[in-house]
Protein backbone atom coordinates (compact mmCIF):
# COMPACT_ATOMS: atom_id res chain seq x y z
CA UNK A 1 0.00 0.00 0.00
CA UNK A 2 1.08 3.55 -0.56
CA UNK A 3 1.59 5.04 2.82
CA UNK A 4 2.23 8.78 2.61
CA UNK A 5 1.75 9.27 6.36
CA UNK A 6 3.68 6.17 7.52
CA UNK A 7 6.95 6.09 9.38
CA UNK A 8 9.89 6.30 7.00
CA UNK A 9 11.96 3.09 7.07
CA UNK A 10 14.47 4.18 4.45
CA UNK A 11 15.61 7.79 4.19
CA UNK A 12 18.28 8.40 1.60
CA UNK A 13 19.55 11.94 1.15
CA UNK A 14 21.81 13.11 -1.64
CA UNK A 15 23.10 9.56 -2.21
CA UNK A 16 26.11 9.69 -4.50
CA UNK A 17 28.28 6.70 -5.38
CA UNK A 18 31.37 6.64 -7.57
CA UNK A 19 32.86 3.40 -8.86
CA UNK A 20 36.45 3.70 -9.98
CA UNK A 21 36.12 7.50 -10.09
CA UNK A 22 33.07 7.38 -12.33
CA UNK A 23 29.83 8.61 -10.74
CA UNK A 24 27.16 5.91 -10.88
CA UNK A 25 24.65 7.59 -8.61
CA UNK A 26 24.31 11.34 -8.45
CA UNK A 27 22.57 13.04 -5.56
CA UNK A 28 19.51 10.84 -5.13
CA UNK A 29 16.87 11.39 -2.47
CA UNK A 30 14.52 8.54 -1.66
CA UNK A 31 12.12 8.02 1.24
CA UNK A 32 10.36 4.67 1.61
CA UNK A 33 7.62 4.44 4.22
CA UNK A 34 6.43 1.49 6.20
CA UNK A 35 4.42 -1.06 4.22
CA UNK A 36 5.20 0.32 0.78
CA UNK A 37 6.03 -1.91 -2.18
CA UNK A 38 8.51 0.04 -4.27
CA UNK A 39 9.90 -1.06 -7.62
CA UNK A 40 13.20 0.46 -8.72
CA UNK A 41 13.23 0.40 -12.48
CA UNK A 42 15.31 1.60 -15.36
CA UNK A 43 17.59 0.47 -18.12
CA UNK A 44 20.76 -1.57 -17.59
CA UNK A 45 23.46 0.62 -16.11
CA UNK A 46 21.02 3.23 -14.83
CA UNK A 47 22.20 2.68 -11.25
CA UNK A 48 19.20 0.86 -9.79
CA UNK A 49 21.21 -2.07 -8.43
CA UNK A 50 23.88 0.27 -7.11
CA UNK A 51 21.21 2.26 -5.28
CA UNK A 52 19.97 -0.87 -3.50
CA UNK A 53 23.54 -1.86 -2.68
CA UNK A 54 24.16 1.62 -1.29
CA UNK A 55 21.01 1.38 0.85
CA UNK A 56 22.10 -1.97 2.32
CA UNK A 57 25.63 -0.75 3.04
CA UNK A 58 27.33 -2.98 0.47
CA UNK A 59 28.47 0.03 -1.52
CA UNK A 60 30.10 2.89 0.39
CA UNK A 61 28.64 6.33 -0.27
CA UNK A 62 30.82 9.01 -1.77
CA UNK A 63 28.43 11.64 -0.52
CA UNK A 64 25.09 11.81 1.25
CA UNK A 65 23.51 9.75 3.99
CA UNK A 66 21.22 6.77 4.47
CA UNK A 67 18.99 6.24 7.50
CA UNK A 68 17.37 2.83 8.09
CA UNK A 69 14.56 2.90 10.66
CA UNK A 70 15.86 6.33 11.66
CA UNK A 71 19.40 5.11 12.39
CA UNK A 72 22.41 6.04 10.24
CA UNK A 73 23.54 3.05 8.20
CA UNK A 74 26.96 2.65 9.82
CA UNK A 75 25.40 2.62 13.31
CA UNK A 76 22.60 0.30 12.25
CA UNK A 77 22.90 -2.83 14.37
CA UNK A 78 19.41 -4.35 14.17
CA UNK A 79 20.23 -6.39 11.11
CA UNK A 80 17.40 -8.78 11.90
CA UNK A 81 14.99 -6.13 10.60
CA UNK A 82 16.63 -6.31 7.18
CA UNK A 83 16.20 -8.97 4.49
CA UNK A 84 18.37 -8.99 1.37
CA UNK A 85 18.08 -11.07 -1.79
CA UNK A 86 21.19 -10.51 -3.89
CA UNK A 87 21.24 -10.48 -7.67
CA UNK A 88 22.59 -13.89 -8.40
CA UNK A 89 21.92 -16.72 -10.78
CA UNK A 90 22.65 -19.50 -8.36
CA UNK A 91 22.54 -20.35 -4.68
CA UNK A 92 25.07 -23.19 -5.03
CA UNK A 93 28.73 -23.14 -3.94
CA UNK A 94 31.61 -25.57 -4.32
CA UNK A 95 30.14 -28.04 -1.81
CA UNK A 96 26.62 -29.45 -1.95
CA UNK A 97 24.17 -27.75 0.42
CA UNK A 98 20.54 -28.63 1.00
CA UNK A 99 17.73 -26.14 0.45
CA UNK A 100 16.99 -26.23 4.16
CA UNK A 101 20.59 -25.37 5.10
CA UNK A 102 20.68 -22.36 2.78
CA UNK A 103 17.34 -21.10 4.10
CA UNK A 104 18.43 -21.70 7.71
CA UNK A 105 21.47 -19.46 7.20
CA UNK A 106 19.01 -16.56 6.90
CA UNK A 107 18.05 -17.19 10.49
CA UNK A 108 21.52 -16.30 11.77
CA UNK A 109 20.50 -12.68 12.37
CA UNK A 110 18.34 -13.94 15.22
CA UNK A 111 20.60 -16.69 16.56
CA UNK A 112 23.30 -15.94 19.11
CA UNK A 113 26.79 -17.34 18.52
CA UNK A 114 27.38 -21.00 19.42
CA UNK A 115 23.69 -21.57 20.19
CA UNK A 116 22.01 -24.45 18.36
CA UNK A 117 18.82 -23.74 16.42
CA UNK A 118 15.75 -23.69 18.66
CA UNK A 119 12.12 -24.50 18.05
CA UNK A 120 11.30 -20.95 16.90
CA UNK A 121 14.20 -21.06 14.41
CA UNK A 122 12.98 -24.31 12.88
CA UNK A 123 9.41 -23.01 12.69
CA UNK A 124 10.57 -19.84 10.90
CA UNK A 125 12.53 -21.91 8.36
CA UNK A 126 9.52 -24.19 7.77
CA UNK A 127 7.30 -21.16 7.29
CA UNK A 128 9.73 -19.51 4.86
CA UNK A 129 9.92 -22.72 2.80
CA UNK A 130 6.15 -22.91 2.73
CA UNK A 131 5.72 -19.30 1.59
CA UNK A 132 7.93 -19.88 -1.46
CA UNK A 133 6.39 -23.32 -2.05
CA UNK A 134 9.53 -25.43 -1.64
CA UNK A 135 8.56 -27.48 1.42
CA UNK A 136 8.84 -30.82 -0.39
CA UNK A 137 12.28 -29.91 -1.74
CA UNK A 138 13.78 -28.97 1.63
CA UNK A 139 16.16 -31.95 1.61
CA UNK A 140 17.26 -31.59 -2.02
CA UNK A 141 20.62 -30.19 -3.01
CA UNK A 142 20.38 -26.55 -4.08
CA UNK A 143 22.48 -27.18 -7.18
CA UNK A 144 19.89 -29.66 -8.52
CA UNK A 145 17.18 -26.97 -8.61
CA UNK A 146 16.31 -24.81 -11.59
CA UNK A 147 17.34 -21.15 -11.66
CA UNK A 148 13.87 -19.95 -10.70
CA UNK A 149 13.66 -22.37 -7.80
CA UNK A 150 17.11 -21.28 -6.59
CA UNK A 151 15.89 -17.68 -6.65
CA UNK A 152 12.96 -18.77 -4.47
CA UNK A 153 15.43 -20.42 -2.09
CA UNK A 154 17.25 -17.09 -1.75
CA UNK A 155 13.96 -15.33 -1.01
CA UNK A 156 13.12 -17.95 1.61
CA UNK A 157 16.54 -17.36 3.17
CA UNK A 158 15.75 -13.66 3.56
CA UNK A 159 12.29 -14.55 4.89
CA UNK A 160 13.65 -16.90 7.55
CA UNK A 161 15.03 -13.96 9.53
CA UNK A 162 11.49 -12.49 9.68
CA UNK A 163 12.62 -9.01 8.61
CA UNK A 164 10.46 -5.92 8.27
CA UNK A 165 12.26 -4.43 5.29
CA UNK A 166 13.19 -6.40 2.16
CA UNK A 167 15.65 -5.47 -0.54
CA UNK A 168 15.48 -7.65 -3.63
CA UNK A 169 17.93 -7.15 -6.49
CA UNK A 170 16.37 -8.35 -9.77
CA UNK A 171 14.55 -11.35 -8.30
CA UNK A 172 12.82 -12.13 -11.58
CA UNK A 173 15.81 -11.82 -13.94
CA UNK A 174 16.16 -14.99 -16.00
CA UNK A 175 13.28 -16.71 -14.21
CA UNK A 176 10.55 -18.48 -16.19
CA UNK A 177 6.93 -17.41 -15.96
CA UNK A 178 5.58 -20.08 -13.56
CA UNK A 179 8.47 -19.38 -11.18
CA UNK A 180 7.87 -15.64 -11.53
CA UNK A 181 4.25 -16.25 -10.50
CA UNK A 182 5.37 -18.32 -7.51
CA UNK A 183 7.72 -15.48 -6.60
CA UNK A 184 4.97 -12.89 -6.92
CA UNK A 185 2.77 -15.05 -4.68
CA UNK A 186 5.52 -15.19 -2.03
CA UNK A 187 6.02 -11.42 -2.21
CA UNK A 188 2.27 -10.85 -1.92
CA UNK A 189 2.21 -12.92 1.29
CA UNK A 190 5.08 -10.85 2.60
CA UNK A 191 3.52 -7.56 1.71
CA UNK A 192 0.20 -8.62 3.27
CA UNK A 193 2.07 -9.33 6.49
CA UNK A 194 3.06 -5.68 6.57
CA UNK A 195 6.64 -5.88 5.29
CA UNK A 196 8.17 -3.03 3.34
CA UNK A 197 9.57 -4.19 -0.01
CA UNK A 198 12.08 -2.43 -2.24
CA UNK A 199 12.82 -4.42 -5.36
CA UNK A 200 14.94 -3.82 -8.41
CA UNK A 201 13.37 -5.00 -11.63
CA UNK A 202 13.99 -4.58 -15.29
CA UNK A 203 10.49 -5.73 -16.11
CA UNK A 204 7.72 -6.30 -13.61
CA UNK A 205 5.76 -9.09 -15.29
CA UNK A 206 3.55 -10.88 -12.73
CA UNK A 207 4.80 -8.52 -10.00
CA UNK A 208 2.99 -5.59 -11.57
CA UNK A 209 -0.24 -5.73 -9.50
CA UNK A 210 1.80 -5.75 -6.28
CA UNK A 211 3.78 -2.60 -6.93
CA UNK A 212 2.30 0.58 -5.54
CA UNK A 213 5.16 2.92 -6.26
CA UNK A 214 7.63 2.96 -9.11
CA UNK A 215 10.96 4.75 -9.00
CA UNK A 216 12.62 5.00 -12.38
CA UNK A 217 16.35 5.59 -12.64
CA UNK A 218 18.18 7.07 -15.56
CA UNK A 219 21.89 7.84 -15.77
CA UNK A 220 22.32 7.52 -12.02
CA UNK A 221 19.46 9.81 -11.12
CA UNK A 222 15.90 9.21 -10.08
CA UNK A 223 13.96 10.32 -13.13
CA UNK A 224 10.47 9.43 -11.92
CA UNK A 225 8.90 8.63 -8.56
CA UNK A 226 5.19 7.91 -8.38
CA UNK A 227 2.44 5.43 -9.27
CA UNK A 228 3.54 2.44 -11.40
CA UNK A 229 4.18 3.10 -15.05
CA UNK A 230 3.33 1.09 -18.10
CA UNK A 231 6.21 -0.62 -19.90
CA UNK A 232 6.07 1.90 -22.75
CA UNK A 233 6.52 4.83 -20.39
CA UNK A 234 9.77 3.39 -19.05
CA UNK A 235 11.35 1.89 -22.11
CA UNK A 236 9.57 3.68 -24.92
CA UNK A 237 11.27 6.22 -27.11
CA UNK A 238 9.98 9.59 -26.06
CA UNK A 239 11.24 13.11 -26.18
CA UNK A 240 11.08 15.08 -22.98
CA UNK A 241 10.69 18.41 -24.70
CA UNK A 242 9.38 19.75 -27.99
CA UNK A 243 11.45 21.10 -30.82
CA UNK A 244 14.09 19.64 -33.10
CA UNK A 245 16.38 16.84 -31.88
CA UNK A 246 19.70 15.80 -33.30
CA UNK A 247 19.49 12.25 -31.83
CA UNK A 248 23.11 12.35 -30.75
CA UNK A 249 24.03 11.36 -27.21
CA UNK A 250 24.98 14.34 -25.08
CA UNK A 251 27.40 13.64 -22.30
CA UNK A 252 27.72 16.14 -19.51
CA UNK A 253 30.64 16.17 -17.14
CA UNK A 254 30.01 14.44 -13.81
CA UNK A 255 27.53 16.29 -11.58
CA UNK A 256 26.99 18.75 -14.38
CA UNK A 257 23.52 19.45 -15.70
CA UNK A 258 22.57 18.55 -19.22
CA UNK A 259 21.80 21.93 -20.65
CA UNK A 260 19.61 20.43 -23.38
CA UNK A 261 17.10 19.08 -20.89
CA UNK A 262 14.73 21.88 -19.84
CA UNK A 263 13.69 20.02 -16.68
CA UNK A 264 17.08 20.76 -15.22
CA UNK A 265 16.36 24.48 -15.34
CA UNK A 266 13.41 24.01 -13.00
CA UNK A 267 15.67 22.95 -10.11
Amino acid sequence: MLNPAGTPVVEARDVTVALGGRPVLRGNDLVVRQGEFVALMGANGSGKSTLVRALTGLRPLTQGSVLLFGTPLHDFKERRRLGFVPQRGTAAGGVPASVREVVASGRLTRRPLLRPAGKADRAAVDDALEVVGLTEMAGDGVSTLSGGQQQRVLIARALAGEPELFFLDEPTAGVDLPNQRALAEALRTLSDRGATVVLVAHELGPLEPLVDRAVVMRDGRIAYDGPPLAHEDVHGHHHPFAGPHDHAPHVGSPFDTMSLDPREDLR
Binding site: L58, G93, L108, S146, G147, R157, A158, N179
Partner: protein
Protein backbone atom coordinates in the same frame (compact mmCIF):
# COMPACT_ATOMS: atom_id res chain seq x y z
CA UNK B 1 55.90 -58.51 7.10
CA UNK B 2 53.54 -60.91 8.81
CA UNK B 3 50.39 -59.77 10.59
CA UNK B 4 51.89 -60.58 13.99
CA UNK B 5 54.90 -58.41 13.27
CA UNK B 6 52.64 -55.62 12.06
CA UNK B 7 50.51 -55.85 15.20
CA UNK B 8 53.68 -55.74 17.27
CA UNK B 9 54.89 -52.65 15.37
CA UNK B 10 51.54 -50.91 15.79
CA UNK B 11 51.68 -51.59 19.52
CA UNK B 12 54.93 -49.69 19.98
CA UNK B 13 54.88 -46.37 21.78
CA UNK B 14 56.10 -44.22 18.90
CA UNK B 15 53.60 -45.86 16.57
CA UNK B 16 50.72 -45.21 18.98
CA UNK B 17 51.70 -41.55 19.11
CA UNK B 18 51.92 -41.42 15.35
CA UNK B 19 48.48 -43.02 14.96
CA UNK B 20 46.93 -40.49 17.34
CA UNK B 21 48.55 -37.58 15.50
CA UNK B 22 47.44 -38.97 12.14
CA UNK B 23 43.87 -39.48 13.31
CA UNK B 24 43.55 -35.92 14.64
CA UNK B 25 45.09 -34.50 11.48
CA UNK B 26 42.79 -36.61 9.35
CA UNK B 27 39.79 -35.18 11.20
CA UNK B 28 40.86 -31.52 11.37
CA UNK B 29 42.16 -30.94 7.84
CA UNK B 30 38.95 -31.98 5.98
CA UNK B 31 36.80 -30.03 8.47
CA UNK B 32 38.37 -26.71 7.52
CA UNK B 33 38.88 -27.97 3.96
CA UNK B 34 35.11 -28.16 3.43
CA UNK B 35 34.80 -24.38 3.86
CA UNK B 36 37.76 -23.78 1.59
CA UNK B 37 36.26 -25.95 -1.15
CA UNK B 38 32.91 -24.20 -0.64
CA UNK B 39 34.66 -20.88 -1.34
CA UNK B 40 36.27 -22.44 -4.43
CA UNK B 41 39.76 -21.92 -3.03
CA UNK B 42 40.78 -25.58 -3.17
CA UNK B 43 44.43 -24.69 -3.70
CA UNK B 44 44.62 -22.39 -0.66
CA UNK B 45 46.02 -25.23 1.47
CA UNK B 46 48.73 -25.83 -1.10
CA UNK B 47 49.69 -22.14 -1.12
CA UNK B 48 49.89 -22.04 2.66
CA UNK B 49 51.89 -25.29 2.63
CA UNK B 50 54.50 -23.73 0.36
CA UNK B 51 54.73 -20.64 2.58
CA UNK B 52 55.18 -22.88 5.61
CA UNK B 53 58.33 -24.32 3.99
CA UNK B 54 59.92 -20.93 4.62
CA UNK B 55 58.74 -21.14 8.23
CA UNK B 56 60.35 -24.55 8.70
CA UNK B 57 63.57 -23.28 7.14
CA UNK B 58 63.59 -20.28 9.52
CA UNK B 59 63.29 -22.77 12.39
CA UNK B 60 66.23 -24.76 11.06
CA UNK B 61 68.26 -21.58 10.64
CA UNK B 62 67.57 -20.10 14.06
CA UNK B 63 67.43 -23.33 16.00
CA UNK B 64 63.88 -22.65 17.13
CA UNK B 65 61.23 -25.39 16.89
CA UNK B 66 60.34 -25.66 13.17
CA UNK B 67 56.76 -26.50 14.12
CA UNK B 68 56.20 -23.15 15.77
CA UNK B 69 58.05 -21.04 13.21
CA UNK B 70 55.98 -22.82 10.55
CA UNK B 71 52.75 -22.01 12.43
CA UNK B 72 53.69 -18.33 12.63
CA UNK B 73 54.84 -17.99 9.01
CA UNK B 74 51.89 -20.01 7.69
CA UNK B 75 49.42 -17.78 9.55
CA UNK B 76 51.14 -14.65 8.20
CA UNK B 77 51.05 -16.13 4.69
CA UNK B 78 47.38 -17.08 4.98
CA UNK B 79 46.43 -13.60 6.17
CA UNK B 80 48.46 -12.09 3.34
CA UNK B 81 46.70 -14.28 0.74
CA UNK B 82 43.33 -13.28 2.19
CA UNK B 83 44.22 -9.57 2.16
CA UNK B 84 45.52 -9.67 -1.42
CA UNK B 85 42.41 -11.56 -2.49
CA UNK B 86 40.02 -9.20 -0.70
CA UNK B 87 41.63 -6.01 -1.96
CA UNK B 88 41.10 -7.40 -5.43
CA UNK B 89 44.25 -6.00 -6.98
CA UNK B 90 45.07 -9.45 -8.31
CA UNK B 91 42.94 -12.53 -8.76
CA UNK B 92 42.80 -14.99 -5.89
CA UNK B 93 44.70 -17.58 -7.89
CA UNK B 94 47.45 -15.13 -8.84
CA UNK B 95 47.84 -14.17 -5.17
CA UNK B 96 48.17 -17.86 -4.36
CA UNK B 97 50.71 -18.43 -7.11
CA UNK B 98 52.90 -15.54 -5.91
CA UNK B 99 53.08 -17.06 -2.43
CA UNK B 100 53.63 -20.58 -3.80
CA UNK B 101 56.83 -19.54 -5.52
CA UNK B 102 58.03 -17.16 -2.85
CA UNK B 103 57.45 -19.65 -0.06
CA UNK B 104 59.17 -22.58 -1.72
CA UNK B 105 62.13 -20.56 -3.02
CA UNK B 106 62.57 -18.82 0.33
CA UNK B 107 62.44 -22.13 2.16
CA UNK B 108 65.07 -23.85 0.04
CA UNK B 109 67.30 -20.74 0.10
CA UNK B 110 67.15 -20.35 3.88
CA UNK B 111 67.70 -24.07 4.44
CA UNK B 112 70.85 -23.76 2.31
CA UNK B 113 71.98 -20.77 4.41
CA UNK B 114 71.39 -22.82 7.55
CA UNK B 115 73.91 -25.33 6.22
CA UNK B 116 71.41 -28.16 5.93
CA UNK B 117 70.78 -29.84 2.62
CA UNK B 118 67.42 -30.53 1.08
CA UNK B 119 67.41 -33.75 3.10
CA UNK B 120 66.67 -31.76 6.26
CA UNK B 121 63.52 -30.43 4.63
CA UNK B 122 62.47 -33.88 3.39
CA UNK B 123 60.89 -34.79 6.74
CA UNK B 124 58.62 -31.76 6.56
CA UNK B 125 57.89 -31.95 2.86
CA UNK B 126 56.62 -35.53 2.82
CA UNK B 127 55.87 -36.23 6.47
CA UNK B 128 57.44 -38.52 9.00
CA UNK B 129 55.06 -39.34 11.80
CA UNK B 130 57.39 -42.03 13.08
CA UNK B 131 59.93 -39.51 14.33
CA UNK B 132 57.34 -37.43 16.16
CA UNK B 133 58.10 -36.77 19.85
CA UNK B 134 55.56 -36.97 22.71
CA UNK B 135 55.47 -33.18 23.16
CA UNK B 136 54.80 -32.74 19.46
CA UNK B 137 51.87 -35.12 19.73
CA UNK B 138 50.40 -32.84 22.38
CA UNK B 139 50.91 -29.77 20.20
CA UNK B 140 49.26 -31.57 17.30
CA UNK B 141 46.36 -32.71 19.46
CA UNK B 142 45.87 -29.23 20.92
CA UNK B 143 45.95 -27.46 17.55
CA UNK B 144 43.66 -30.05 15.97
CA UNK B 145 41.15 -29.64 18.79
CA UNK B 146 41.18 -25.85 18.36
CA UNK B 147 40.50 -26.24 14.64
CA UNK B 148 37.70 -28.76 15.21
CA UNK B 149 36.01 -26.77 17.98
CA UNK B 150 35.99 -23.53 16.00
CA UNK B 151 34.89 -25.05 12.67
CA UNK B 152 32.10 -27.14 14.17
CA UNK B 153 31.02 -24.48 16.69
CA UNK B 154 30.85 -21.67 14.14
CA UNK B 155 29.55 -23.91 11.35
CA UNK B 156 26.36 -21.90 10.62
CA UNK B 157 28.24 -18.58 10.48
CA UNK B 158 31.14 -19.95 8.44
CA UNK B 159 28.71 -21.64 6.06
CA UNK B 160 26.76 -18.40 5.52
CA UNK B 161 29.93 -16.38 4.88
CA UNK B 162 31.46 -18.98 2.57
CA UNK B 163 28.33 -19.51 0.50
CA UNK B 164 27.23 -15.88 0.07
CA UNK B 165 29.47 -13.13 1.50
CA UNK B 166 27.19 -10.29 0.38
CA UNK B 167 24.15 -11.74 2.05
CA UNK B 168 26.21 -12.40 5.17
CA UNK B 169 27.36 -8.79 5.25
CA UNK B 170 23.85 -7.41 5.03
CA UNK B 171 22.85 -9.89 7.76
CA UNK B 172 25.42 -8.17 9.98
CA UNK B 173 28.04 -10.94 10.05
CA UNK B 174 31.63 -9.74 10.11
CA UNK B 175 32.61 -11.28 6.81
CA UNK B 176 36.22 -10.16 6.86
CA UNK B 177 36.79 -11.51 10.36
CA UNK B 178 35.29 -14.89 9.45
CA UNK B 179 37.30 -15.08 6.23
CA UNK B 180 40.47 -14.33 8.18
CA UNK B 181 39.49 -16.96 10.73
CA UNK B 182 39.12 -19.57 7.98
CA UNK B 183 42.52 -18.57 6.56
CA UNK B 184 44.17 -18.78 9.99
CA UNK B 185 42.53 -22.12 10.77
CA UNK B 186 43.67 -23.40 7.38
CA UNK B 187 47.22 -22.31 8.24
CA UNK B 188 47.01 -24.09 11.59
CA UNK B 189 45.69 -27.28 9.94
CA UNK B 190 48.51 -27.15 7.41
CA UNK B 191 51.13 -27.05 10.13
CA UNK B 192 49.25 -29.73 12.08
CA UNK B 193 49.22 -31.93 8.99
CA UNK B 194 52.88 -31.12 8.25
CA UNK B 195 54.24 -33.92 10.45
CA UNK B 196 51.97 -36.58 8.99
CA UNK B 197 51.36 -35.92 5.27
CA UNK B 198 54.02 -33.29 4.72
CA UNK B 199 53.74 -29.76 3.39
CA UNK B 200 53.72 -30.65 -0.29
CA UNK B 201 50.79 -33.03 0.09
CA UNK B 202 48.90 -31.19 2.80
CA UNK B 203 46.29 -29.73 0.49
CA UNK B 204 45.29 -33.25 -0.50
CA UNK B 205 44.07 -34.01 3.01
CA UNK B 206 41.98 -30.82 2.94
CA UNK B 207 40.46 -31.38 -0.48
CA UNK B 208 40.35 -35.08 -1.44
CA UNK B 209 38.15 -36.21 1.50
CA UNK B 210 35.72 -33.38 0.71
CA UNK B 211 35.63 -34.37 -2.96
CA UNK B 212 35.02 -37.97 -1.90
CA UNK B 213 32.28 -37.13 0.55
CA UNK B 214 30.38 -34.81 -1.78
CA UNK B 215 29.91 -37.67 -4.25
CA UNK B 216 27.40 -39.14 -1.84
CA UNK B 217 26.18 -36.26 0.33
CA UNK B 218 23.35 -33.89 -0.43
CA UNK B 219 23.81 -31.41 2.41
CA UNK B 220 26.72 -29.35 3.65
CA UNK B 221 26.70 -30.86 7.12
CA UNK B 222 26.79 -34.44 5.83
CA UNK B 223 29.58 -33.48 3.40
CA UNK B 224 31.63 -32.09 6.28
CA UNK B 225 31.08 -35.07 8.59
CA UNK B 226 31.65 -37.54 5.74
CA UNK B 227 34.88 -35.76 4.82
CA UNK B 228 36.08 -36.07 8.43
CA UNK B 229 35.38 -39.82 8.38
CA UNK B 230 37.19 -40.25 5.05
CA UNK B 231 40.10 -38.11 6.30
CA UNK B 232 40.41 -40.06 9.56
CA UNK B 233 40.26 -43.45 7.83
CA UNK B 234 42.74 -42.38 5.13
CA UNK B 235 45.21 -40.95 7.68
CA UNK B 236 45.20 -43.96 10.00
CA UNK B 237 44.99 -46.47 7.14
CA UNK B 238 47.76 -44.75 5.18
CA UNK B 239 50.01 -44.81 8.22
CA UNK B 240 49.43 -48.53 8.77
CA UNK B 241 50.17 -49.19 5.09
CA UNK B 242 53.40 -47.18 5.35
CA UNK B 243 54.38 -49.14 8.48
CA UNK B 244 53.59 -52.41 6.77
CA UNK B 245 55.70 -51.53 3.73
CA UNK B 246 58.54 -50.23 5.88
CA UNK B 247 59.99 -53.75 6.17
CA UNK B 248 60.87 -53.71 2.49
CA UNK B 249 61.44 -50.06 1.66
CA UNK B 250 61.46 -46.62 3.21
CA UNK B 251 58.00 -45.25 2.64
CA UNK B 252 57.02 -41.83 3.98
CA UNK B 253 53.49 -41.88 5.44
CA UNK B 254 52.38 -38.79 3.46
CA UNK B 255 52.19 -40.39 0.03
CA UNK B 256 50.44 -43.53 1.30
CA UNK B 257 47.84 -41.43 3.14
CA UNK B 258 47.15 -39.33 0.05
CA UNK B 259 47.02 -42.34 -2.26
CA UNK B 260 44.59 -44.07 0.09
CA UNK B 261 42.34 -40.97 0.11
CA UNK B 262 42.47 -40.86 -3.69
CA UNK B 263 41.57 -44.55 -3.87
CA UNK B 264 38.53 -43.83 -1.72
CA UNK B 265 37.60 -41.01 -4.08
CA UNK B 266 38.02 -43.29 -7.10
CA UNK B 267 35.79 -45.87 -5.41
CA UNK B 268 32.98 -43.42 -4.57
CA UNK B 269 33.03 -41.52 -7.83
CA UNK B 270 31.16 -44.14 -9.91
CA UNK B 271 28.69 -44.52 -7.02
CA UNK B 272 28.14 -40.75 -7.07
CA UNK B 273 27.58 -40.74 -10.82
CA UNK B 274 25.11 -43.60 -10.42
CA UNK B 275 23.24 -41.87 -7.57
CA UNK B 276 22.93 -38.61 -9.51
CA UNK B 277 21.63 -40.58 -12.49
CA UNK B 278 19.10 -42.33 -10.29
CA UNK B 279 17.90 -38.98 -8.92
CA UNK B 280 17.29 -37.73 -12.41
CA UNK B 281 15.38 -40.88 -13.28
CA UNK B 282 13.10 -40.55 -10.26
CA UNK B 283 11.78 -37.30 -11.72
CA UNK B 284 10.39 -38.76 -14.91
CA UNK B 285 8.53 -37.27 -17.76
CA UNK B 286 4.85 -37.16 -16.63
CA UNK B 287 2.75 -40.10 -17.80
CA UNK B 288 0.94 -39.12 -20.96
CA UNK B 289 -1.78 -41.73 -21.15
CA UNK B 290 -2.21 -44.06 -24.08
CA UNK B 291 -3.61 -41.80 -26.78
CA UNK B 292 -1.34 -41.29 -29.74
CA UNK B 293 -0.03 -37.81 -30.37
CA UNK B 294 -2.46 -35.89 -32.52
CA UNK B 295 -1.64 -33.44 -35.26
CA UNK B 296 0.17 -30.47 -33.97
CA UNK B 297 -0.51 -26.84 -34.66
CA UNK B 298 2.35 -24.62 -33.83
CA UNK B 299 0.93 -21.24 -34.69
CA UNK B 300 -2.61 -21.57 -33.40
CA UNK B 301 -2.75 -22.13 -29.71
CA UNK B 302 -5.95 -21.72 -27.72
CA UNK B 303 -4.28 -20.51 -24.55
CA UNK B 304 -1.03 -19.44 -22.96
CA UNK B 305 0.67 -22.22 -21.02
CA UNK B 306 1.08 -21.47 -17.35
CA UNK B 307 0.42 -22.74 -13.88
CA UNK B 308 -3.34 -22.96 -14.35
CA UNK B 309 -3.59 -24.40 -17.87
CA UNK B 310 -3.76 -27.99 -16.69
CA UNK B 311 -0.93 -29.28 -18.87
CA UNK B 312 1.82 -31.06 -16.93
CA UNK B 313 4.73 -28.67 -16.42
CA UNK B 314 8.22 -30.12 -16.80
CA UNK B 315 11.22 -28.05 -15.70
CA UNK B 316 13.74 -28.21 -18.55
CA UNK B 317 17.01 -26.42 -17.91
CA UNK B 318 16.31 -22.72 -17.56
CA UNK B 319 12.67 -22.85 -18.66
CA UNK B 320 9.52 -24.94 -18.29
CA UNK B 321 8.04 -27.19 -20.96
CA UNK B 322 4.34 -28.06 -21.02
CA UNK B 323 3.24 -31.50 -22.10
CA UNK B 324 0.58 -30.93 -24.74
CA UNK B 325 -0.90 -33.65 -26.96
CA UNK B 326 2.19 -35.77 -26.50
CA UNK B 327 4.64 -32.94 -27.23
CA UNK B 328 6.65 -30.80 -24.95
CA UNK B 329 5.98 -27.16 -25.63
CA UNK B 330 8.52 -24.53 -24.73
CA UNK B 331 7.45 -20.91 -25.06
CA UNK B 332 9.55 -19.08 -27.58
CA UNK B 333 8.31 -15.59 -28.35
CA UNK B 334 4.99 -15.86 -30.14
CA UNK B 335 5.03 -19.62 -30.73
CA UNK B 336 5.98 -22.86 -29.04
CA UNK B 337 9.05 -24.92 -29.74
CA UNK B 338 9.04 -28.70 -29.56
CA UNK B 339 11.41 -30.00 -26.91
Amino acid sequence: MSLAELADLLGRDFMQRALLAALLTGLAAPAIGTFIVQRRLALLGDGIGHVAVTGVALGLLTGASPTWTAVVVAILGAVLIEVIREQGHTNGDVALALLFYGGLAGGVLITGLAGDGAAALQVYLFGSVTSISPTEVWYTAGLALVVLTLTLGLLPQLFAVASDPEFARVAGLRVRAYNLLVAVLAAVSVTVAMRTVGLLLVSALMVVPVATSQQLARSFRSTLLGAMVVGGVAAVGGLVVAAWLSARATVAPGPSIVILALVMFAATWPVGVWIRRRRRLTEPFPALGTETPGPHEVDEHPHEHGEACGHPAVPHGDHVDYVHDGHRHAVHGEHYDEH
